[in-house]
Subunit: 136 residues, 3 copies
């Protein structure tokens, strides 16, 4: 069986944000066993799974990703949409456009310290669209 | 239900290439609802989802990934297959070996600006094999 | 049909390790056709698919990932758990928390040179938990 739902997240500032609860709320009751696939319909934002407890981890992701895909690199030719645009595309490929998570005993079977991050790479806030697909 | 198909892409030069249409052509009619999983059977190429409109984005990925995994790094020991080989392995892990995309209303439910990239990391062109798996 | 199993890997030292056989042993007989999803329940380790033959590839991943997420970066604020902790979180997002692999003709349909890597990013060895989900 497949259940699918499209949601629009609230607007988030540039950075890394926990959105596990937003996703769980949209899904309602989970099946006993299955897989949840979460897909982001954008190329300048991403989804990843990482530490859900200490906000300093999410803070440190921001300068770390800026090092990996710096603004104003001399070899960028795609510069029309601003200095944060091309880095955002590269970061979205590094982090990934979807996460897939097992569902077991009616809940997301992540580790104690895992949560789903929305990675917002643009300076201007956007309301990002996600597609949630449950296989069970 | 599962539908699975193996395809061989045409040869692409080193760089990032849109292959959404090649994949759609191989699949034929899509189910109303489901998930498409696309897997690349190689470790020196990758798949990712990114901007499908302006070719300058794909151009800028090439120097950006070369910075992330430079050729001739002094700590490489796996050098027998040429200077582009070990960087290709690292890049393939950074970008990923598969993409999973929701299918809704009989079409790939990506954002307007999203497309599937084949990332070819070797200097010598190769014909890359993909496994397409549809769940519906 | 869904088959799901949770396993605990043996302890591995910091670095990149082939675990394809550990996963196959836990699964037993594979279905004719389907998908295998392997999920790691941790945020300082990761899973990826890469070269399964020459151990020098796995060796070279270690310094390469250390360059991508260096220890003691001046902008880290999450430093309480040691200098290897924050880099481990970044590396886990770069490599990814799960891999999905097609199953065809009763076997994992990877390329000849592909294997599943456990990426252990902490200095202290850990026994990592995986959730294996088979769709068929």
């Amino acid at each position: 069986m497949i259940t699918q739902k499209e949601i629009t997240l609230p607007s988030y500032s540039r950075g890394f944000h926990l959105v596990t609860n937003e996703i769980l709320r949209a899904l309602g009751e989970l099946p006993e066993q299955g897989l949840l696939h979460v897909f982001i319909k954008h190329t300048s934002a991403a989804l990843t799974i990482n530490e859900n407890a200490d906000p300093s981890v999410r803070d440190d992701f921001e300068p770390s990703f800026n090092k990996l895909a710096p603004e104003n690199a001399p070899y960028y030719t795609h510069t029309m949409e601003g200095p944060d645009d091309m880095p955002a595309h590269i970061k979205s490929t590094l982090a990934g456009s979807s996460v897939t998570i097992p569902v077991s005993n009616g809940r997301l079977n992540m580790g104690t310290w895992q949560g789903i991050y929305l990675c917002e790479f643009r300076n201007q806030s956007n309301r990002r669209k996600l597609v949630l697909t449950l296989y069970h």
